[in-house]
């Protein structure tokens, strides 16, 4: 469907859910370590996330959690729930970088996650998009502090493109295509990781003149020698030209 949308075969609205679905939906097919490293790189520089999250055992989109002890009546629905053997990772996404996330929603989702799961794995909560700052935040649920890691769509796109650039030239075509498709999904939603002309540095070359190279590389030895010597006599079959030094 993404390809159909990119080639204008169908018209797809570009909403929060289509962004989450197309970007994170494609990322789930990456190797676990790459999937995680891209998510981690999309967070603020002071996030200090674990280098590894173990083995991913499930990626769930818009899971419906038990709403007990929250203000919701039926269910609570975060955007993505990633289960690993060590962590439960929740992603709450907003359409645009810049504003929209709120503490109350995070708390609700953590409460509902605790209702849902029968374990006490550590929670990694990622607030993706909608953040006014990338500094970590926190909230307290059931007496336990949960760190809220802030990420931006732009940082995630940048991480994806950096990973693409680092791929070996003869390496995995599959990985390259997948990362390329993720970048296209971003593009479709108006996220561009373009280097703009404003960052082009001036190098102040002098004005070019053709004589620069012709002076150095063109060398007419006839003219050169003619400046040093004058022929004593012309050539004939029976005589040999003798070069005399030019008298000044």
């Amino acid at each position: 469907m993404l390809q159909a949308a990119l080639h204008k075969k169908i018209v797809v609205p570009t909403l929060e859910d289509t962004l989450t679905s197309s970007v994170v939906g494609l990322m789930q097919f990456l190797p676990d370590d790459i999937f995680w490293s891209l998510l981690a790189e999309s967070c603020g520089v002071s996030a200090h996330l674990p280098a590894s999250i173990g083995k991913i055992t499930g990626v769930n989109f818009w899971p419906r959690f038990d709403a007990r002890n929250t203000c919701n009546s039926t269910y609570v629905e975060p955007d993505v729930w990633i289960e690993t053997d060590i962590y439960d990772i929740v992603i709450e996404a907003k359409r645009y970088d810049g504003g929209g996330q709120c503490l109350e929603q995070w708390e609700k989702e953590i409460i509902a996650l605790n209702n849902e799961r029968g374990n006490d794995k550590e929670i990694i909560f990622i607030s993706l998009g909608g953040n006014t700052s990338h500094a970590n935040d926190s909230c307290v649920v059931d007496g336990k502090e949960v760190c809220i890691y802030k990420a931006s769509w732009f940082n995630l796109l940048h991480a994806v493109n950096n990973r693409r650039k680092r791929l070996p030239e003869n390496g995995s075509g599959c990985l390259s295509r997948l990362l390329g498709a993720i970048a296209e999904a971003f593009f479709m939603h108006g996220y561009y990781d373009i280097e703009w002309l404003e960052s082009l540095e001036c190098i102040n070359l002098p004005s070019y003149r053709t004589s620069l190279f012709t002076d150095i590389l063109n060398f007419d030895n006839h003219d050169f020698f003619a400046a040093l010597y004058t022929p004593a006599a012309g050539f004939s079959e029976n005589s040999i030209m003798v070069w005399n030094e030019k008298k000044n």
Binding site: I194, W196, L197, E201, I203, Y208
Partner: protein, 213 residues
């Protein structure tokens, strides 16, 4: 030794120039993708102008022959990005190309027809680097006029002094030719403003209702 030293300094400039052109062209490619997306066109392909393409022989090697020009090696000098065509209101169609003139110097000097005589080009400081947007609108049943080669090499349109105009076509359609200095696409904000000016001109002249997404 002095000649060698002079050449080495020139070759250092060559290295700087090549790397700068790489950085420049990298940004131009990103810009073209941005323009294509913002004007809602689905593809980008290209045509080299000013001199011939380089092409591969059957044996896989690029043909290098005695009468080729050095310009043949320099694609970024004058390059047309074709962004495709699409249907608009009333059943008409529009097609869009953006032409990158990295240097208008040849076109600024009306007295010179020799593209290999760079000494006769206008001075670099008197020339410009520009984009020429070429949009053709054709009626449903008509063939495209699309006389791109003629437009691209027309001194009036290629010159730094060209701004914008609407041209009537023989097929009953029209062409909108709009020039921008490349500096008018320096960042996202100014790029969007430039595209808004283009779209506004197309609407105000009744050429076509083109909108930026």
């Amino acid at each position: 030794m002095e000649r060698k030293e002079k050449l080495n300094r020139a070759l250092c400039d060559i290295r700087k120039a090549h790397r700068m052109i790489y950085s420049y062209q990298q940004r131009m490619l990103g810009l073209m993708k941005f323009i294509s997306a913002k004007l809602d066109f689905a593809q980008i392909s290209g045509v080299k102008h000013f001199s011939n393409d380089m092409y591969k022989r059957r044996n896989g090697y690029i043909d290098v022959h005695g009468d080729m020009w050095a310009w043949d090696f320099l694609y970024s000098y004058l390059f047309q990005y074709y962004l495709g065509e699409k249907e608009i209101e009333g059943g008409d169609s529009i097609a869009l190309s953006v032409v990158q003139y990295s240097d208008t110097g040849f076109f600024e000097n009306c007295n010179n027809d020799d593209r290999t005589d760079i000494a006769s080009f206008a001075a670099e400081e008197e020339s410009s680097s520009k984009l020429l947007f070429i949009i053709e609108r054709k009626p449903k049943a008509a063939e495209w006029e699309w006389n791109i080669e003629e437009i691209v090499h027309n001194r009036e349109y290629a010159s730094k002094n060209h701004t914008r105009c609407i041209v009537e076509c023989g097929n009953g359609g029209r062409q909108c030719l709009y020039s921008f200095g490349i500096e008018e696409f320096i960042d996202e904000k100014t790029a969007l403003e430039s595209l808004d000016r283009l779209c506004g001109y197309c609407r105000d002249t009744g050429f076509a209702d083109i909108r930026r997404v």
